[in-house]
Symmetry: C2
Subunit: 404 residues, 2 copies
């Protein structure tokens, strides 16, 4: 028998499987359990007919290119289309050369991490923040500093305090990672002053900012402040990332990064060895879906659809959760985040009981917190379950919390 452990790298040994994905695997297909654990779109919004047509046309018409190897940076037609899309949707004005296509946001996070992080470098994130982003940063050797969020997004006053406390070590900070709109998991959105303050701080301390923006296309309140940091960035500090996962189809695995050319060039060289290039066919499909208005159509259906689910969830929470639960009221995105302010409440420890006894699942909030706090928190998704499931599931969760 071979002892494989001697072959495994320190990095591989240090990382844990993602709780979310393990959990999802565990309860998959269990109809009796209502799950708020996912973060996935409702497939009813997938434009199946339109995509089937687009895929057929792309393969038949452009097959010589669409099925072939392509540029590491992304095919030029797609980058041009994304350049228009970013200008139109997010007031981000970059040309095609400032964009690199990635194999979903996760690969974007990994490529940014590998390009920027040396082992021992520091990454500042919101607390809580996106689990798989924290995982990518840690896998690439980063030490994490978490700055609390409130309903207005990252507490930039606290950010400044933490950077001051670092002293000379502040030079090890490579970037600040934020999801300004409809944050995963917190469901919060940064207000204008916080965004300005964040950019001021980045400038003062000479830091980069990684803006992860998958949710800003799905906003439930008209006139909400959702300007992207990148659109406010005068110094070239912001590395902007987004994806079609929430506005078209996550199974295509297409995302993109927009940043200064010098950075994009670095990402491109790393990407050559990471995955050579992102799937050509999927890039063509995304470009067509943008140009033919399919994405606009998905968004216009998704907004009222998810808004209604969010409303059902917030109402159910108000009716079922005890008053010592603090929770966010998201204006965008797919998640509500809750802190149970009751001594000893441990959402992670209670999960098994929740699933087995109460037949309801959520993601324990601890692992979203880069500094190990937040054991009393949970992420609750409203995009995937039905209204009926939301009402019943939140009632079950409310009972579980009261009886814990």
């Amino acid at each position: 028998m071979i002892d494989y452990s001697r072959f495994i790298s320190h990095v591989a040994k240090s990382i844990k499987a993602s709780e979310i994905r393990e959990l999802l695997a565990l309860i998959r297909g269990r109809k009796d359990i209502i799950s708020f654990a996912g973060g996935i779109p409702d497939p009813v919004l997938f434009p199946r007919k339109e995509l089937a047509k687009i895929a057929g046309v792309v393969i038949e018409k452009y097959g010589d290119n669409a099925l072939q190897y392509s540029e590491t940076k992304g095919i030029i037609e797609v980058r041009e289309t994304l350049s228009d899309f970013l200008a139109r949707k997010r007031e981000i004005h970059v040309d095609a050369e400032d964009i690199i296509v990635t194999s979903g946001s996760q690969s974007g996070l990994d490529i940014v991490s590998r390009t920027l992080i040396d082992p021992g470098d520091i990454v500042v994130t919101e607390s809580p923040s996106y689990l798989a982003a924290l995982g990518a940063f840690k896998m690439n050797g980063a030490r994490l500093i978490g700055v609390k969020v409130d309903e207005h997004g990252m507490r930039t006053d606290l950010l400044e305090d933490r950077l001051k406390q670092l002293g000379d070590d502040v030079r090890r900070v490579k970037f600040i990672y934020v999801i300004p709109v409809g944050q995963n998991p917190a469901g919060t959105t940064m207000d204008k002053d916080r965004k300005k303050h964040l950019l001021e701080i980045a400038s003062r301390y000479d830091l980069l900012v990684v803006e992860d923006d998958p949710y800003s296309y799905i906003i439930y309140e008209e006139g909400a402040e959702v300007a992207s940091l990148k659109s406010m960035d005068k110094e070239g500090r912001v590395i902007y990332m987004s994806t079609v996962s929430k506005i078209l189809a996550p199974g295509l695995r297409i995302g993109w990064i927009a940043a200064e050319k010098e950075l994009i060039r670095r990402f491109e060289i790393v990407k050559q060895y990471v995955d050579l290039h992102s799937p050509t066919l999927n890039q063509f499909i995304v470009a067509e879906a943008i140009k033919t208005g399919v994405i606009d159509d998905v968004v216009s259906r998704a907004v009222p659809y998810y808004k209604a689910k969010r409303d059902t969830m917030l109402k159910a929470i108000q009716e079922n959760f005890p008053e010592y639960v603090w929770y966010t009221k998201p204006i965008g995105g797919l998640f509500v985040f809750a802190y149970v302010h009751k001594p000893g409440f441990d959402a992670g420890a209670l999960l098994e009981k929740a699933v087995k006894q109460y037949k309801v699942a959520y993601v324990p909030g601890g692992s979203f917190h880069p500094e190990g706090d937040g054991v009393n928190s949970m992420r609750i998704n409203f995009s995937y379950p039905s209204h009926e499931q939301i009402r019943e599931g939140i009632a079950r969760l409310g009972r579980m919390i009261r009886e814990a």
Copy 2:
């Protein structure tokens, strides 16, 4: 102005852009230049109609799943299909749980590297070997040892010598990387004795073997010895990798790894943070293309098609190259590799002249050699250019070599 260089990791600073890809970008669209530099399939072999139909059916029929997030390891139906495919085509008997789907071979190489290599570890490769594999190993901190190939594949006698010379450092060797059939770039195929010897050595020194197998489906000589190492592996030392890039369409970016469960589990955990999962849609398309015989059909068309091109190239080389050029006569794969045995011949230094004056391109062989030799070599691709281009291009290249 921001000095971005202070933000770039040591790893990102240490890697260079791939010569092949830079070069291809440079001469793209130049109709006057005959290029042997690519390594890409002839798109005439892409089954456009069949894939257009499959994509349409998959999206319309299985869209809820095919457009959605999916398992990191790969969707189970696809892994089951690949399990059958490997048994049928390569006599590799693994079940679906021993397989992980990757975003092309390159991502497989990267994930294997990250899972196994600590900075300073050693990877043994053939010399020459696949450029982007060497790049992935180096990016992940490996020191490389190159063992010469001849017409029978890796010189395993030299392999043994090199391992002995390492002394205690042999414990830092994590794996031996080989492309046993239709090697890229050398065009060589390992014979049975060499394969047995390689596995014996791996066993004696307690090493893993990474078998990269993209070309074995395209074999030009009936009865050629092309058994996979994995099919001969009794100890669980072989990590087998392949891809649909040469037998269906590289633009889909779907590859796979077959190995012992314990290793697959490690790859899976790393992959969670690398790219979450490979594109779901593309996985469904590949499974359908296998099950409906589309891949078998491509292979049966590709073999005579590329064989004819290989024959044209070998004939042209025989007629045009001087006798001091040693070159391989591949029984599979897409490449001929040539060493110009003339003092001072530097294929890298001559490339610009070749392109500008002789209007012909190749890949200089130096960077395929992990230990810096091979400046007098070049990789010549015969899958993409037409017969006419092969004849004319090899004549130009012959002139260039004689006049150098």
